[in-house]
């Protein structure tokens, strides 16, 4: 019986994505053109087949029986969500208000508790970026 390894998971994902690309994504997201040597769907179709074949090879003969580190994955997702929320906040409230809070949140989550470094990361660094971009380079910040 086949064991579940990260390579097998990745291989099956590749096959699945190749099939989705071939039968749904490419027909949906490219225009039908019936002339020329390289049609809009030619390269995506070739790549879909490559993904299916290479995915089959990977799922069939995994090169290393490595597992998935769910703890690392969970922590990365937490930071990722925090940055995405920060980006949404920047889009609504602007860099000047959100950047110090985003930097502070990341530092606190990392375990930083020293006032000097918290001040440096949450106040001095965002202020230096603002000074350099908006004042020195005269470019608008988001």
């Amino acid at each position: 019986m086949m064991s579940i390894t990260s390579d097998r998971v990745a291989g099956f994902c590749s096959i699945f994505f190749g099939l989705v690309l071939l039968f749904w994504l490419t027909p949906f997201a490219t225009e039908t053109v019936d002339y020329g040597w390289m049609r809009p769907k030619t390269l995506p179709d070739i790549l879909a087949w490559i993904l299916i074949f290479a995915g089959s090879a990977l799922a069939g003969v995994p090169s290393e029986p490595a597992g998935i580190n769910f703890l690392l994955f969970g922590k990365a997702v937490t930071y990722f969500v925090l940055i995405v929320l920060g980006l949404f906040a920047i889009a609504h409230f602007g860099y000047l208000l959100v950047a110090p809070l985003l930097a502070l949140a990341i530092m606190l989550l990392l375990g930083e508790r020293r006032w000097f470094w918290l001040f440096t990361g949450a106040v001095l660094v965002p202020a230096a970026i603002w000074l350099f971009i908006e004042i020195l380079l005269s470019r608008p910040l988001p």
């Binding site: 049609r39 809009p40 995915g55 990977l58 990392l110």
Partner: protein, 503 residues
Amino acid sequence: MVDLNIILAGFADAFTLHNLLFVLAGVALGQLVGAIPGIGPVMAMAIAIPFTFIIDPLPAIAFLVGINKGGLVGGAIPAVLINTPGTPDAAATALDGYPLAKQGKPQKATKMALYASVTGDTISDIVLITVAAPLAIFALKMGPVEIFALMIFAFSVIAGLIGKSVPKGIIAAALGLLCATVGLDPEHSTPRFYFGWFELYDGLPLASVAIGMLAISEVLRRLASNTGTVRPAIDYDASQSKEDRRISWAEYWSCRITMLRGAAIGTVLGALPGIGSTAAAFMSYAATKQSSKDPESFGKGNLHGIAAAESANSAVMGANLIPLLTLGIPGSVGAALIISAFVIHGIQPGPLLFEQQGRLVYGLFGAMVMANVANLILGQFGLRLWSRVVTAPESVIFSAAILLCIVGVSLSTGGLFGVAIMLIFAGFGFLMNMFGFSTVIFIIAFFLGPRFEISLSQTLVLLDGNLMGLTHYPLALALLVLSAISIWWLGIRGRNQSTNSQA
């Protein structure tokens, strides 16, 4: 033939205190902006061009060239120190630079990057100064068919970077190529995979994809691996021996073949418009890794890896000016900005430039030589400063890196849409790393993709679909034979050797 008096007069024009100050200012600004992910020297040049209206042509162009050259060194600094390439072409430098910095030798790693960068740049400048015209004629012979064969050759070099699992390497390359198909297709100009987002008509922005996959995904990995104890981003021991802080002459000299190879790859690719320094850096890295007696040490802090990448990406800069000065064709965005500075000052680059403005051209060459020296001197101070900065706690360094990436990508792509793309690719890059796929192969394929597809399309049209027609293109045939040799040499032979050494 240009008169020797004109050459000497041009160099004499360049070597003045006035010009030297402009070159120094340009190099300092270039190193600073190059070290900020996403901003880079191109944006700094674009901002600086209006300010050069009020100065004479030579100092104006020297200033812009200084920014461009300074950016080459600056981009390597965050790549080596925090695995966050300041510019996409520095991504290959991070492969060995960052592991060496993590071993507590950040100064050694950045100094190797600096020396290799200046060496590669100087070699390509010498080629530019001495054989620009014949090289430009060679570059002009590269039509769509030859460019297609060159793209095949570039992809064949990826074989050297595939690593343990061939299917994973192929999947990474296929995904990179697939992402490159987003936007208008090259033959019919119909939109593909844009899902109603008109911002994607021009394709996925390189800055967003490269910084997301290489920089933010690495920051995410480092943040997630944190165990609750805040440590310095780089463990740097101030009392470490001199050998760990500097590059000895013996170490530099042992990299001479690597740097020469890198400079040759960078110069040839730089002379071809549109190929770019990212491809040159990775091709040089792959070639060096596979020709090494100890390929297993690459990716673990090998000085040759840093030297290969930096010499090649820096060599592209000088060579980019070959088609610009001789044919009036800019080889890159940076060269296009320099061409606009020429035009602003009433100078028309092209075949007659050496005859009509010979003195200015040789003055520019003099300024380039000065910029290389300035890069070396200013780099020594800058690298020492940056090496100290990254001894700050990783909480500060990584939060600053995230803010810089957000701001830099927002500026280079013109809004937060590019930042959103960056975050998507950061997540994707993290997953790829987690499952053991190479993000570097993905990026190379993504970078070469548009050029590959358009040249394939043009080739099929030119040959009317008959590949036997390739026999009429000897240069293309030679490149295809080289590709086959490269796949065997870099891929099959390299893997067999690696398997045998493990057994």
